[in-house]
């Protein structure tokens, strides 16, 4: 039998305030198997850690429980300390008595009792923990960068410079992203192209960077250090090695298409080059708008090409590569302006977006750099800029501040002034936010210009006046309604993650945070890493930001990747699934079901074999096995049963009177609901202490026995909660769990029992409030229903 040590942390007053820690330590010392039990002010401090290490050695402990904050905070710290005392780190478990106990229950007696039960359940788990050792994998030194805007370019250059091979994948036919569309940049007013094109050329010339334009990443398989990627490159039909860029094909092409690079303000041909400095320097044939690759249908461009660079027989290709890490820089798009009904649905051509204005004012843009109205080409004398178009409007549009609009609007107004010296500009704003080096000074200069009138107020409507665009707004400083007529209106549209980000995130298991931007592993301390190990993030895919910040993040992500690649191998968590060869008969059901293709069947031995590298430990396969031959390491069925027993107090009789206190067993997945429960603690959102959490990697590991065991042994309700189906790190796992639980519920129903005692809910890490409220309601419901008749439930098989 293991000799277990329990260390109860006060966390100053954070735990000790609502939990009688001394009593907890004393009570726990009586528990079966506990050889040592103490409490201390700060376990995570150096003396605290020393206390643990010394005890392991002196008391000859085989396992330790640290009753403290959430494992997401200090599990790593304590496991390291355990390891340094010579104990296998997986013999250290955390009992979360802060976020999920002392911070959410303010009745000290109840809090103390719950803390004791939480610790007991962890002790029962620990008793059966195996010794585990991290799996080590050799790393591939190539890197995939997705998206070739300024962030992707910077990251690729940094990594290429360090001598690693980079595959830079871009959806569009050119690199440079939105930055290459900009006229000038704030606050220095230096030309965007002039500072970006040298970097673009560098990308093209760097031997370490392999560029894939017109391409998208189809799939990424494997794990950190060893990803297998598939890149789908759309056929370009023009061989860039032969194409001289003469442009004869463009003149021959009869088709006209709105030009995406010019934001739809002018037209291009179906065969085209987006702009003269384009990298890679070649023409693109846009198959969607081409009359047909069949020479009978058109074929004029092929005839015109003297170099024979056009080949209609090319097809889309799939290119397979191996990389060790992935950097995602998928950038932003503008908030769709047709969503803002009162600003004209995009039905008025003279209402333009911020990016369209950039093109209009650009020296070689669609209007040749002259300020002309898109509707009729008349000169623009009066102009209005509307800040926060779509931003900071939680009720209807985006709740977030898009951060760069105040600055770019001031820049655009200044540029307008340079182009039209006698012109008049109105700038409507809610607040001016200009936090950045030299930003405030830039704004102040703009505001002191007599011809740039800053109006504090939101525009309520834009409509067609006599020949001009009429604007109604309320000036909140003078308290008067203001109606002006202008030639053109520029909407400083908010920033949203580039269209398709949600789907992209689902495909590659990246988590999505508020406002639908991708989320970082930690908003402050791990700003360029993803929770999906091996994925790094930079730039506006994470949230609105300006160019300097984007570049800094890109370099940050690159350096993170470089430190990963500095080692020849990476370590992988050993919490995976194991096979009981005795029980397994090699039927192959698990191999069929595995999301990550991690299971193969050994045909000779007739047994399933788990690929340690590929298995992510989600244990999705566990309930699939008809022979119960699969278990998750260190969270076996028996461990789950023992934990439930500890919580419910095995053998206790349920009091059937009005003072009945219901107990709920919650199976929460680590990503999503468990984080929500922790966050409820951080926010001190009080809920009833009847709730006991069993953390699982994914709820798809739960089978009928796990769920029913709790109720059969006296729990009043079971809450199973995973991350939202679209956000789970294990694709399809949440939905599969739902399918399984639904079938269990209908079975319960047909047995004439109340299936509402078992609930399935989705929670994302951010939904702390929702979680706390739900739990309370559930307790209330169970109180109303009264104690469970476990005997009847035991008849269920």
């Amino acid at each position: 039998m293991k000799r277990i040590g329990v260390f109860v942390c006060h966390c100053g007053d954070n735990i000790a305030g609502n939990v009688d820690v001394e009593r907890v330590a004393k009570e726990i010392s009586k528990h079966d198997g506990v050889a040592h039990s103490v409490d201390y002010t700060f376990m995570c401090s150096d003396p605290g850690q020393k206390l643990i290490k010394d005890a392991i050695i002196e008391k000859k402990l085989d396992g330790v429980i640290i009753a403290s904050c959430s494992p997401t905070m200090h599990e790593g710290t304590f496991r390291k300390a355990t390891a340094s005392a010579g104990l296998n780190p997986y013999q250290c478990e955390i009992a979360n008595i802060r976020e999920q106990c002392s911070w959410v229950h303010f009745d000290k007696e109840k809090g103390t009792q719950k803390a004791i039960l939480i610790i007991k359940s962890m002790i029962e788990k620990l008793k059966m923990n195996e010794l585990l050792y991290p799996v080590s994998v050799s790393t591939n030194k190539n890197v995939l960068v997705i998206g070739a805007g300024i962030a992707g370019i910077q990251a690729a250059l940094d990594i290429g410079e360090a001598g690693h091979k980079v595959f830079l994948v871009e959806k569009k036919p050119y690199i440079g992203g939105h930055m290459i569309q900009l006229s000038v940049t704030f606050p220095t007013l230096d030309c965007s192209q002039c500072i970006l094109t040298p970097k673009m050329v560098q990308v093209n010339q760097d031997e370490n960077i392999e560029l894939f334009v017109n391409s998208e990443v189809e799939s990424i398989d494997g794990a950190v250090g060893n990803f297998k990627i598939k890149i789908k490159r759309t056929a370009q039909y023009i061989n860039p090695d032969i194409c001289t860029g003469c442009g004869d094909c463009v003149e021959a092409c009869p088709e006209l298409v709105p030009d995406e690079y010019e934001e739809g303000l002018s037209y291009r041909r179906a065969v085209y080059m987006s702009f003269p400095q384009v990298i890679p320097y070649t023409y693109t044939l846009d198959i969607d708008n081409c009359l047909g690759l069949n020479p009978i249908a058109c074929g004029k461009c092929k005839e015109a090409c003297k170099e024979n660079a056009i080949n209609y027989d090319l097809r889309d290709e799939i290119i397979e590569k191996s990389v060790g890490a992935v950097i995602v820089t998928t950038g932003y798009d503008q908030y769709p302006m047709e969503n803002i009904g009162e600003y004209g649905y995009g039905k008025y051509p003279d209402v333009v977006s911020g990016l369209q204005f950039e093109r209009l004012i650009f020296a070689i843009g669609p209007s040749g750099g002259k300020m002309l109205r898109p509707s009729d080409g008349k000169p623009v004398k009066k102009i209005a800029f509307i800040q926060c178009s779509g931003s900071r409007d939680p009720e209807r549009h985006l709740s977030h501040c898009s951060k760069i609009c105040c600055m770019y609007t001031a820049k655009q107004a200044k540029m307008f002034k340079t182009k039209v010296p006698d012109g008049q500009a109105y700038i409507y704003y809610i607040d001016v936010r200009a936090a950045g080096k030299d930003y405030e000074e830039f704004i102040q200069k703009a505001q002191s210009d007599q011809k740039l009138i800053y109006v504090r107020g939101k525009v309520s409507r834009i409509y067609k006046g006599n020949d001009k665009m009429a604007i109604s707004a309320f000036d909140t400083l003078s308290g008067k309604k203001m109606d002006v007529e202008v030639d053109m209106v520029v909407l400083a549209l908010g920033l949203v993650p580039s269209f398709g980000t949600a789907e992209f995130a689902r495909k590659f298991n990246l988590s999505v945070g508020t406002s639908d931007f991708l989320s970082e592993a930690h908003p402050k301390l791990r700003p360029v890493e993803s929770v999906n190990t091996g994925f790094f993030l930079a730039g506006t895919c994470l949230g609105p930001k300006d160019i300097p910040e984007t570049v800094a993040q890109a370099s940050g992500a690159a350096s993170k990747v470089l430190s990963l690649l500095a080692y020849d191998s990476v370590e992988k968590s050993p919490i995976i699934v194991k096979v009981d060869a005795e029980k397994c008969d090699g039927c192959g059901k698990c191999a069929e079901e595995c999301i990550f293709d991690a299971i193969t069947i050994d045909k000779i031995q007739n047994v399933a074999v788990i690929d340690e590298m590929k298995c992510k430990g989600c244990a999705y396969c566990v309930p699939e096995c008809p022979y119960d031959a699969l278990e998750q390491k260190n969270l076996s069925s028996q461990q789950i049963y023992n934990m439930i027993d500890a919580i419910l107090g095995k053998g206790n009789k349920v009091e059937k009177d009005k003072t009945h206190v219901p107990k709920i067993i919650c199976f929460l997945s680590e990503i999503g609901p468990y984080q929500a429960a922790d966050l409820a603690g951080t926010g001190r959102m009080e809920y009833r202490p009847n709730v006991f959490v069993i953390k699982v990697l994914s709820i798809s590991m739960l089978n009928k026995n796990h769920i029913l065991y709790a109720i059969k042994h006296g729990a009043d309700g079971v809450l199973i909660s995973g991350s939202h189906p679209g956000e789970s790190p294990y694709p399809g796992a949440s939905l599969k769990a739902k399918e399984r639980i639904d079938s269990i519920k209908s079975e319960i129903k047909s047995a004439g029992l109340n299936s509402d005692r078992i609930r399935l809910e989705w929670y994302a890490g951010r939904q702390a409030k929702g979680f706390a409220a739900y739990v309370d309601k559930f307790v209330e419901y169970l109180k109303m229903k009264g104690p469970v008749d476990s005997a009847k439930w035991r008849l269920l098989h």
């Binding site: 803002i340 009904g341 004209g344 649905y345 409509y463 067609k464 006046g465 009429a470």
Partner: protein, 292 residues
């Protein structure tokens, strides 16, 4: 198609031409308005003033009686009735506690309200059930050359949960008018408040609002304004007398209910009785356009 119908008080008095024209126009579309029995006042502003259950009783009594008569929906013409009934419905639906309390108040009704009656504005029915395409096909006398401004006021589109169309940029009335062959023009004040009941207590407020709305429509080139709200119609139409006296640059324009124009376009004609209920003469304009 039979449409269970709640008229409301104004449609039986000052706005009887609204009801009359609706019945006539809908007949041409093979639809009959079937007035529910025993209806009472919709509650008007009182039921909107706060969430006091007492003030919702009048609206909910209508819903209860409709339910008792076996109706699962009510079609409403008046914007105010539409808004109050629909809001009261949502106010108690899904809230068993409130529903129970309200039912206790209405014990004289013998049955309890269960919350099964839906509320629709006629415009929604025209758009979704009858469709503007069908209407367009049945137009006998297209309103060619008539330049109209659709005026929504507040109650069709606010609060946004009860909007019958996009609440910032609605086009449902314009789409109907286009189907009837008219030209509808956008103008700035089409979603503004007409001053509503302030016309009784602070008339100058309503005068100012109405003046601004009509001026905005005129400037956009509208020859008449079209609405679905008796209160808006009253303010915009009858206040023009005083506005005309006060403002030098003002030209009077007629105010129509959308159903009046439907009646003309669908071949059900115009009635001189309707003209009597207008302040600004509508007939002159219609004659000018050869629609009478």
């Amino acid at each position: 198609m039979n449409l269970p119908y709640y008229p409301g008080c104004t449609l039986k008095a000052n706005a009887s031409h609204f009801e009359d024209s609706a019945i006539k126009a809908l007949e041409k579309l093979n639809c009959q308005l079937q007035e529910m029995k025993d209806w009472v006042c919709c509650g008007t502003v009182f039921s909107l003033s706060n969430d006091d259950l007492m003030l919702q009783l009048s609206s909910i009594r209508n819903l209860l009686r409709a339910e008792k008569q076996g109706l699962n929906e009510l079609i409403v013409l008046c914007s105010m009735c539409y808004n109050t009934l629909k809001r009261s419905k949502d106010f108690i639906t899904d809230d068993k506690e409130k529903l129970e309390k309200v039912n206790n108040f209405m014990y004289m009704e013998e049955v309890d309200y269960k919350g099964t009656v839906d509320i629709y504005h006629l415009l929604t029915i025209l758009k979704d059930r009858i469709t503007f395409e069908t209407i367009q096909d049945k137009v006998k006398k297209p309103l060619n050359s008539l330049k109209l401004g659709a005026f929504y006021g507040c109650l069709l589109v606010r609060p946004k949960e009860y909007a019958i169309d996009d609440f910032e940029g609605p086009t449902i009335i314009e789409d109907l008018l286009s189907a009837l062959g008219a030209e509808s023009l956008d103008f700035a004040y089409k979603l503004e408040c007409c001053g509503a009941y302030q016309t009784l207590t602070q008339k100058d407020v309503s005068l100012k609002r109405s003046y601004e709305i009509i001026r905005s429509a005129s400037r956009a080139g509208c020859e008449a304004i079209v609405t679905s709200c008796p209160l808006c119609a009253y303010n915009l139409d009858f206040l023009q007398k005083e506005i005309d006296e006060e403002q030098v640059d003002f030209n009077k324009i007629p105010i129509f209910y959308f159903t009046e124009l439907m009646s003309i376009a669908l071949g059900a004609g115009w009635s001189s009785k309707w003209s009597e209920l207008h302040f600004v003469d509508p007939e002159q304009l219609l004659r000018d356009k050869h629609l009478l």
